[in-house]
Symmetry: C2
């Protein structure tokens, strides 16, 4: 058996794509979502009972290791992208 190569790229650096989704925790008020709810109603869009707004970050990362990428993204989310007191986040490495 051969060891896995450190990189299987041909001179060009590998890039992974990922998405971090940040949403408000249950129970945290979302006045912006409430405003959107009201605006939809006044625009004639009927049937929407609740709106909660969150954020997504589409991120590109150097390197080809999904495990490392996920660890990096969790660090980024904890340090900067999410306020973990009031927000949850989810990390997906797309490929």
């Amino acid at each position: 058996m051969f060891p896995a190569p450190a990189s299987d790229s041909y001179g060009k650096p590998q890039v992974m794509k990922a998405r971090v989704t940040v949403t408000l925790k249950t129970g945290i008020l979302d006045p912006q979502g409430k405003a959107i709810e009201g605006a939809l109603r006044s625009l004639g869009v009927e049937g929407v009972t609740s709106v909660r707004q969150g954020k997504v970050f589409d991120i590109e990362i150097d390197g080809g290791d999904p495990k490392k990428a996920e660890a990096l993204l969790k660090e980024a989310a904890d340090k900067l992208l999410a306020n973990t007191v009031i927000e949850n986040y989810r990390v997906e490495v797309v490929g």
Copy 2:
């Protein structure tokens, strides 16, 4: 064959959950994403080569018809949630 019931709920109204994801179109500058990139670097998170920020809307809708829900959400996205000149959106009915 019996016609499908208008609602199969037992007195309580049916609610569907959905998510609308709004992202900037390719080529549209994202200064906020650039700022996050820089902030991550100065926080010591290495390896992030690109960040683009978008929005998510977690929406609850009356009724049990996924087709109708999707049409409603597209209307909401076109009218309010996304600026279709510079943004793309994706609608997912979760269930």
